[in-house]
Symmetry: C2
Subunit: 408 residues, 2 copies
């Protein structure tokens, strides 16, 4: 198979039975487990505790008898636990949005891929506050019988990782072989490495920095304002209403997409080309392809995501600052780090720009930690962490093999 990715892509288009692909993990089905209850509530960074907390997760591959081959994958803002394979639950119950399509990191997870499921057990769980199975603002508050909406607590990346470690305990995994994630997922890797350094050997951080820049904070602020301004938002109490704040959520998504692409890739992809027309329309309808693209992204996102979840997850993104482990000093924070680190940035990424990613690398190096850093040349912007498949696959595969063979 000389070009397996194209084969995969062909299969999607031709409707072949996906599990026939030897490099796919095949059909998957999410699992759920309650990881915080009355006797064991989850402490939160913002104060107080939360319970019950259900976590939705998927696993691919088998855990070794020594339980030492697990790799935990963290998803980004709009992701879910379905990281690889084909979701057998698509269309069922609360998953109308889960089209029969491969998981969000299917290019990296499967037999023979970077996260080789014939060697490793790969685990991915949905974050708290999301709308994909783990407890969040759309979950029913047992105290009221109503969805939490904005009465759900503001949760943090620290809370997320605390919960994921409970999942590891539940699965009987004392120490991960690896943890990996890009973007907000990469920030969870950093947090895992600083909060629970003894729980993981190899840490892979793609397109993520120790904290969001002022510009990143600004974009998230605007996104949240857009959601709150939607006439159907009703202060977050829109569940069960005939109309949802989809337009506001769509605007938030448009802003997101602008920050995921680079100026260069946007210019190459769309330029000033017109959409389905020969000349300007002189109305406020869509004229340009880029308008049409953003409009479609907005609409599709409204169909699959929850506006309140977007508020909570962007707030967690804003709040995250790895330097908190060193009382504001990132170098002091990284004294806690153990294990081996692979950090990659992407030259055209302006959401988690290379200079910000390098702050982590510098802080790890200052503490003489094992870190490999590569600034990957790419025009894809922030999306590069998912699109530069060949480069990242090889880096991650070799890094994991090294960690697995090191015996440390």
């Amino acid at each position: 198979m000389s070009d397996p990715l194209n084969v995969l892509s062909d299969k999607r288009q031709t409707g072949h039975d996906p599990p026939d692909d030897p490099r796919s993990v095949g059909w998957t089905r999410p699992q759920r487990v309650v990881l915080a209850d009355e006797r064991n509530p989850l402490p939160l960074d913002g104060g107080g505790t939360l319970q019950p907390v259900t976590v939705e997760f998927e696993t691919y591959g088998e855990l070794s008898p020594a339980r030492d081959n697990a790799v935990l994958i963290f998803h980004a803002l709009s992701g879910d636990a379905h990281a690889a394979g084909w979701c057998a639950a698509a269309g069922e119950g609360n998953r109308p949005w889960r089209k029969a399509r491969p998981g969000w990191w299917d290019t990296a997870i499967g037999p023979g891929k970077a996260f080789d499921t014939s060697r490793y057990q790969v685990i991915c769980a949905n974050v708290m506050g999301s709308c994909y199975g783990t407890t969040g603002p759309s979950s029913i508050n047992p105290a009221t019988g109503q969805p939490y909406a904005l009465s759900f607590p503001v949760v943090t990346v620290g809370d997320w990782v605390r919960l994921q470690v409970r999942l590891l305990d539940h699965l009987g995994i004392e120490r991960l072989l690896g943890a990996a994630g890009g973007s907000l997922g990469g920030q969870q890797v950093i947090e895992l490495g600083l909060a629970y350094p003894e729980r993981v050997k190899g840490l892979i951080v793609l397109a993520a920095s120790p904290r969001l820049s002022a510009q990143g904070l600004a974009f998230n602020t605007v996104a949240r304002h857009a959601i709150a301004t939607d006439p159907h938002f009703h202060g977050g109490n829109y569940y069960g209403q005939s109309e949802q704040p989809d337009r506001g959520l769509g605007i938030a998504r448009m802003i997101g997409h602008i920050t995921y692409l680079s100026e260069t890739s946007m210019q190459a992809k769309f330029g000033r080309r017109l959409q389905d027309r020969e000349r300007l329309g002189y109305t406020f309808d869509v004229d340009f392809q880029v308008e049409s693209y953003l409009g479609h992204q907005a609409q599709a996102f409204g169909e699959r995501f929850d506006a309140n979840s977007y508020l909570y997850i962007t707030k967690a993104m804003d709040y995250y600052d790895a330097a908190n482990w060193g009382e504001g000093d990132l170098r002091a924070a990284c004294r806690r780090a153990q294990g081996s680190w692979l950090v990659t940035s992407f030259t055209s990424d302006w959401l988690y720009p290379p200079w910000a990613c390098r702050e982590l690398v510098d802080a790890l190096c200052a503490n003489h930690r094992r870190v490999t850093y590569i600034d990957i040349e790419s025009s894809y912007g922030h999306d590069a962490f998912l699109l530069e498949v060949e480069t990242t696959e090889q880096l991650m595969r070799d890094f994991l093999a090294g960690v697995a063979g090191s015996g440390r």
Copy 2:
């Protein structure tokens, strides 16, 4: 006066009578003139005509007996005709928003300044579609007795410049000594130079390119969606209502401000500093200074700008493409150019980035036109065209003096 700009700034703070400043043009009062009526309607690029069209403008300094010392200034997206001095009409009639503060380019216009009003007559007019005196969507449509709202035609930079040339005719100015503008104002300079090359000797284009990039189109699209999503927008028919679409307009303005600052300047100005608090709040209230800043900008803009005008002006910005004069070929378009050109970009400007400004310079050079191009080192982003006062003042002053002395 060793540091006149600081003196000016001190005067603002201490409340001295502003016209006492020898470098201020003093009190100003806008004028209005009807430049299109039934007998002479204004032809529009989108087809059809518009009338009546009133134009609000200000002038500073005296027109020479030979009528050869006029400099036309073009304002950007949110600007108005009040480019310099202190508005004597502040607080009157429809100008509650006009605080007693200097015009938007007061640093450049006045006795002894770049646009030296003791030598030149400086003119600035409000663009069509705006809300500051020139006919726009908030104007009364005489056919209905109601504000136009979205029945106002989609107007273009070409239409604007056509109207400004009518203003020159009205003022008896056959040929301008100079035309100058930054951002969308700079695009009007380009358009004047291509549409009416015989009407201007020196053209000053700051932080403006021949056309907006895909990313620029994307930001404007999001801004318009935000306005249209405001519950008080009512399809643009909100005039006279108790509530205006100020939140949507505010979101549009926030997006604008993000694009006006550079990542570097935003990081330096705000970083991740908290606003009036010691620690994170764990609510959806304002935590960070950058959130507070954007919120204030949004609110202030809602008090002084009209949401429909924002739709029209951003659409004109999207539509502008100087290459249209060459059927899509900018070099062919620039064959039309005459006069001397001064083009400046700013290294950290990512709304009209240097590479895009250089396209104009390349096209002018290819046609052996007289052009001076400078990419000014600045961390201020797009705002640099207003903030790099010392550099731009010297450049513009010398350029204009050269044009005035050339006899061409």
